[in-house]
């Protein structure tokens, strides 16, 4: 196989795939993925390519959409507990795993307006686990407290909630989320990062274990699958991503 350098997107996809397969997390049989999430999609297709049974529903496919009841079916499935895992991002994410997809400054985002909350204010509550994903890891994104809460990271007792964030994956590291204390801890560092560099780029406080390992390198098998069958599956729903991440490399 090609000895091409490992691209950051490939590392992130592999890191997410390992979180999907984490035996300590609730089982993932069905994952739903939005249109703006090519890296999480690649991660889930990699999990499948590794031989694990996982139903992957791409929510916004124009053709061959997995749903036949329109865009409400995703939320009806989540309402029933038929979606095990979902991915969310945020214009801002804080140390209690609150996410803000609305904007900064005064309501409703008078300083900088983001597109909006989409389905997050339901999905975050009803999915047994959510993986938060945001490539940009900077103090403007990872803030002490979000300006506006699209969906809260934890809920008080008595409020119906099936799950919380499992982890937050960024371009610098992986954090694990601990709902019982509503805090993140540093799980692993991507190449080139240190505890200090992550601390400097993070606006919120987080726990640091005595030993923080590097994010495991993708194996040859994982890379071969990503660049082979996963890429083929991704071509139709995520053409621009495939052109940018995979084709450039295969041409190099």
């Amino acid at each position: 196989m090609s000895a091409a350098a490992i691209r950051p997107e490939e590392r992130l996809a592999v890191a997410i795939a390992r979180l999907v397969l984490d035996p300590e997390a609730p089982p993932a049989r069905h994952v739903a993925i939005g249109a703006a999430s090519p890296i999480p999609a690649a991660a889930c297709f990699l999990v499948r390519a590794l031989g694990h049974p996982l139903r992957v529903s791409l929510q916004q496919r124009r053709t061959a959409n997995p749903f036949s009841e329109g865009s409400r079916e995703l939320f009806d499935l989540a309402g029933q507990g038929r979606i095990d895992l979902f991915f969310l991002g945020g214009g801002q994410i804080d140390g209690q795993a609150n996410i803000n997809l609305i904007g900064t400054g005064e309501w409703p985002g008078r300083e900088a307006r983001f597109p909006g909350s989409f389905g997050s204010a339901l999905m975050y509550f009803l999915t047994p686990r959510t993986i938060l994903f945001r490539e940009e890891h900077s103090p403007r994104v990872l803030v002490p407290r979000v300006d506006i809460v699209s969906a809260p990271g934890v809920s008080p007792p008595g409020v119906y909630r099936r799950g919380t964030a499992q982890a937050l994956v960024t371009g610098r590291c992986v954090f694990r989320f601990h709902p019982e204390r509503a805090r993140f801890s540093l799980l692993s560092l991507h190449p080139g990062e240190t505890v200090e560099s992550v601390r400097a780029a993070t606006g919120f406080d987080f726990d640091i274990p005595a030993h923080v390992p590097p994010t495991p390198e993708p194996t040859e098998q994982e890379l071969a699958l990503l660049r082979g069958p996963v890429r083929e599956t991704m071509l139709e729903p995520y053409p621009e991503f495939c052109a940018r991440v995979f084709d450039r490399k295969s041409a190099a």
Partner: protein
């Protein structure tokens, strides 16, 4: 039902109407939105089913919109919706933020003719904090002694639903395929104004394979033929989105001046200019 012209369809949307609209990935009535800009519509209240895209950004930029209720406004891969973003920053738009399933649920309540429906989630979100019209009540079916607050959403009945369907038949039935959320919007709205790619002979409801994707003429007030009427967005498996054009829109609409240039080139020149560009 005899189809009317696109401009006549736009004239059926009164100023100030509450208009339910699909986003770019569903069945967007892009050609009708351009016709509404040409007609100089004012004070429209847009409802995203459940989010909004190009057509809404165009109407906002052209000053046709007073209020927006939606779960997001986005141009997808072309990025943020620039005229929406500018209007929120300027404070010129009344904006009611929602979340996708809440909009589906409010329309489903209207479809059923019941006053409200419950929905999970939302408790602790600032969306709920800014919606005095949404209420939290104890689940009346919870086991005795159990605390189970749940959000109640009022039925939402749009004045008009607008969307672009693949086809209509001679009876005025329209086919939307698997986009059932648009069928729900049509069922909930007082009337639907529909653009279609083409009109086919016969009755779609007599075809067992097509009938599940049909919205009955019962709900449809008027139909206009607009070939490639979703452009620059895509339509089901009929045509793909015109990514280059959406990127051009996103670039031009970043400024007021650029937006006016876009409108002069693609909107105000008439329906034929947009079709020719496609």
């Amino acid at each position: 039902m005899t189809p009317i012209s696109l401009e006549a369809l736009a004239a059926e949307v009164p100023d100030g109407a509450l208009v339910a609209m699909p986003p770019d990935y569903s069945l967007p009535a892009s050609a009708l939105a351009r016709a509404l800009v040409r007609r100089g519509a004012r004070g429209l209240r847009l409802l995203g089913v459940p989010i909004l895209g190009y057509a809404a950004d165009l109407l906002i930029g052209a000053g046709c919109v007073a209020e927006v209720e939606t779960s997001a406004v986005t141009l997808g891969e072309a990025g943020f919706a620039p005229r929406f973003t500018a209007a929120v920053r300027a404070g010129t738009l009344r904006l009611r933020d929602a979340t996708c399933p809440a909009i589906h649920t409010m329309l489903q309540a209207a479809e059923k003719g019941v006053p409200f429906m419950p929905l999970r989630g939302l408790i602790g979100s600032d969306i709920l904090a800014h919606r005095p019209d949404w209420k939290v009540a104890p689940n009346p079916f919870a086991p005795p002694g159990a605390e189970d607050p749940i959000v109640l959403l009022p039925a939402l009945r749009p004045d008009i639903a607008i969307f672009h369907a693949a086809m209509a038949d001679a009876e005025g039935n329209v086919w939307v395929g698997r986009r059932r959320e648009i069928a729900t919007a049509a069922h909930a709205a007082r009337r639907s104004l529909v653009t279609v790619e083409r009109v086919v002979a016969g009755n779609l409801l007599e075809d067992e394979r097509l009938a599940p994707g049909v919205i009955s003429a019962l709900y449809v007030a008027a139909v206009a033929v607009a070939e490639r009427g979703a452009w620059p967005c895509g339509l089901l498996d009929a045509y793909a989105p015109d990514g280059a054009h959406l990127a051009e829109y996103a670039r031009l609409a970043r400024t007021e001046e650029g937006f006016r240039e876009y409108c002069a080139r693609y909107v105000l020149a008439g329906a034929s200019a947009a079709a020719a560009a496609a």
